[in-house]
Structures are given as C-alpha cells and as structure tokens.
C-alpha cells in the first residue's frame, strides 16, 4: 500500500468524496502501521466539519430503524449522511453477521448516504479507537453528518458512543428492565434521550422515569431533552434533528477544532486508562503486583502507589 497524498492516491480520492475510496480507507484504518499513520495525517486538514452523532441503546429499542428515519430526515434537510453501524461479533469465533443496514435499505442507492457495517471485535486499540478514526474518515470524505450506531450493552460500546459530538441514548417501553439497563454508565454520557416506539403502552411512564433520573444530574449548559419518537411511523424525527442541531451548534460556537480535540482527548484518556487497567487487573506483572501488595499492607499510601504504577508504566512502554 502506498498512501502518498498524491493525485489519484487513496487519500486524494477520499478527500474528493469518492465512496469507494472511503470504503477502502475504512478497511485499511483497522490495521496499524506506516500506511495508516500517513493516511490519517493527510486527512487532518480536512477534519472537523461533520457533526458526529452517536446512537446507542439496548437491543430491541429500534436503533437501526430510528437511524434509518433520521437519515431520511437529514436528507430532507439537504445534508449528506455517513453511518457506521456496529454489530456484536461472536465471542467465540470473532465472526459476525452484520444486519443493521437491512433497516436502512431505502438509502442504498442514495449517493448522499454512505453506510458501513462494522463488527465489534478485532479492532486494534479498541472499538472506540476504530470508531473515532472511521468518523474522521467519513468527516474527511465530506459527509455533513456522521452517525455511529452501537448496541449499548457493553463498556466498549459506551466508550464508542463517547467519541461522538452529540450522544443519543435510545430506549423503548417494554424492554423489561429497560430504564435500569440504560442507567448503568450510559445515561451519564447522553446529550439526548429518546423513547422510541412511543405507540406502545407505558411509553409515557418510560419518559417520566428518564426525566426523573435526569433530575439527579449535575446542572450544565445543556439541558438533556427526553424525546418521543416512532421510527416506523416517522414521528418525532424533526424534533430529534432539531435537538441534535442545537447541541451541535453549541459545539460550533466553541469551534469545530475544539470538538475535534475533545474527541482526541477522550480517545487518549480511554486508551491510556485501558493500559493502566490491563497492567493492574490483568497482566500479573511482578512490579505491579509488588506495588499492589505494598498498598494492601499499608506500606505505602494510595498516592505513592499511583505514582509508582505510572512510573513503571512509563518505563515498560516501548519508545515510539
């Protein structure tokens, strides 16, 4: 692979908005190495234009159908849309059947829409690193709106949703412990809460539950709205799109580059934290074990232990 930003090179074709180049770049970006770094570097000047919207929520909430309706709404507003839809991989084989785009079939032939299915496993550096890069590539290819769709079941999906500028958490009535299911971890990151399938009984109750849970959140400059939608009947979509645009407008006031650097910031924080976690929780590294024992026996305090761990971390990492 040779990714010099020369004319007709992959990066040039990507920046010219050719979907085939975007498709290829997304496959390449999953790996690591010189080519990837070069590709990422050559698109840097063109980043920060797209609004990255994350859609997540428990299985059965109707995410794909809602994303489908959202695409139609944004197309109606004259925006182009790129979607990265993540389906879980088999924990045993790593294989996956990616079927999210079945619900988005009406947009297949629309040149203003690009949809890419991704499997949740097999991403070097984690799913959120891949998602952030895929979003960058879609942004560089010139799409106005980039959608990251995940099943909000696990930690990595929550982390992926964090890569978005506007984070939408979807629930639906009748998912059993639905509200409980989204409470853990994911509610905190939501910018907009959506109760989909609002024709079902108990929809109002789900809305009220979410509103009361939000009341516990610390006040900020963005008041998280709870919206009702029906993705099949296509109701509530203008309100959802308006809310997304309002939230994105806040971002624009601060500047697109600020949003971009905040994505980088979150990604770096997640990745660094993961390294520390691996060292302490999984690696059984002798030095780390010694520090843990010392802390346990109160030979050293927490502050000292932390600094020792980070120092060891620093020494053990290879120089780039």
């Amino acid at each position: 692979m040779n990714d010099t930003p020369e004319k007709n090179g992959l990066a040039a074709r990507l920046l010219a908005g050719q979907p085939a180049a975007l498709a290829r770049a997304i496959s390449i970006i999953e790996g690591e190495g010189e080519a990837v770094t070069r590709l990422l570097k050559s698109i840097q000047p063109n980043l920060g234009r797209a609004v990255v919207v994350g859609f997540t929520g428990p299985p059965g909430a109707g995410k794909s159908t809602l994303v489908n309706a959202f695409i139609a709404e944004m197309r109606g507003r004259g925006k182009t849309v790129a979607v990265a839809a993540v389906d879980p991989s088999s924990p045993i084989t790593g294989g996956a059947v990616l079927g999210d785009r079945i619900r988005m079939a009406e947009h297949t032939m629309d040149s203003g829409v690009y949809i890419r299915s991704l499997a949740s496993r097999g991403h070097l550096g984690g799913l959120s690193a891949s998602a952030a890069r895929v979003a960058d590539l879609m942004d560089a290819a010139g799409y106005d709106v980039v959608v990251l769709e995940t099943v909000g079941a696990g930690q990595s999906e929550v982390e992926m949703a964090e890569m978005a500028d506007v984070r939408i958490v979807i629930s639906a009535p009748g998912l059993g412990d639905d509200v409980q299911a989204i409470k853990a971890g994911i509610l905190e990151i939501a910018d907009i809460l959506v109760v989909n399938k609002d024709d079902l009984p108990l929809a109002n109750r789900t809305v009220r539950q979410l509103q009361s849970m939000l009341a516990l959140r610390a006040p900020s400059d963005w008041k998280v709205p709870v919206l009702s939608t029906n993705a099949v009947e296509r109701t509530g979509l203008p309100e959802l799109a308006d809310a997304i645009e309002s939230k994105a407008a806040l971002r624009t006031i601060k500047g697109a580059r600020a949003a971009l650097s905040s994505r980088t910031r979150r990604l770096l924080a997640q990745t660094a934290a993961k390294h520390v976690e691996d060292l302490i929780l999984r690696d059984q590294n002798p030095t780390a074990e010694a520090i843990i024992t010392a802390l346990q026996q109160a030979d050293i305090d927490l502050r000292t232990a932390t600094s020792k761990i980070l120092k060891h971390m620093h020494e053990s990492l290879p120089d780039e």
Partner: protein, 142 residues
Amino acid sequence: MTEVLNMPARVLVTKIGLDGHDRGSRIIAAYLRDAGMEVIYTNPWQKIDAVVALAMEEDVDVIGISSLATDHLLVPKLMKALAEAELGHVRVVVGGIVPDEDEADLLAAGVSEVFHPGAMREEIVSSVEGFAAEATNARPQD
C-alpha cells in the same frame, strides 16, 4: 506499535430478483460467521445496482448470491456491473437450485463457484475463504 491485524474476510450474502426463501442464505451466513468471517446480510429482492453499491460501501471480498428459483439468470448482469464499477476483484459465488446448463453460463460469466443443494459446510467455508484471499490479492493497489 507495528502490528498488522489479520482482517477477517468480508462477505455479502444476498438475494437478487424475485424469490424470497431465505433458509439457505441464513444457514450460509451462520456458517461463514462461525468460521470467523464478517457477513453483511440483506433483505431479498436486491437490484443489481444495489448489490454493486453494497459491495463497494462494505468493501467486501466475496458476494454470495442465494437463488432458489430462476433469479440466478440475472447473475451475468451482476458480473458485468461489478466490472464496470471497478470491483472486478470481488469474487462471486452462487448457491441454490441452479440447473447444469445454467451453471456453465454462470461460470463463463465469471462466477467463481456454484454450490448445489447438498453442499457441505466445510466445502463452502473453505471455498469462500480461498476466494476471499484471491480477492485480496486481486485488489487494485492503493
């Protein structure tokens, strides 16, 4: 870090034309998934241009067309459309009820293999894996 990830094969499993029986395509999708591949699965009745668009957007290595009626007669058109879209490296396999006479036509049109009822899991999986590797090698260099 200079690790290179061994990317799983990406396969589009779909149906063109008019028929809607999907037992075969579901089983094939599960076979390929269980062999560690990433399968993009669609509704039936895909138009030729939609299959081309899907193959392009999803950057697949192999397209599997399931045909139980006579929809495989459209596959030569698909082969032509793929070539025109500069997706000539993508391998196409057909599975289902395909009469002998038609099989010859499909192979002549560039289809890599035709699987008939009774084809076994291992045979299908290893063929598709092989075709995916071929597709990777045949890709235009970026």
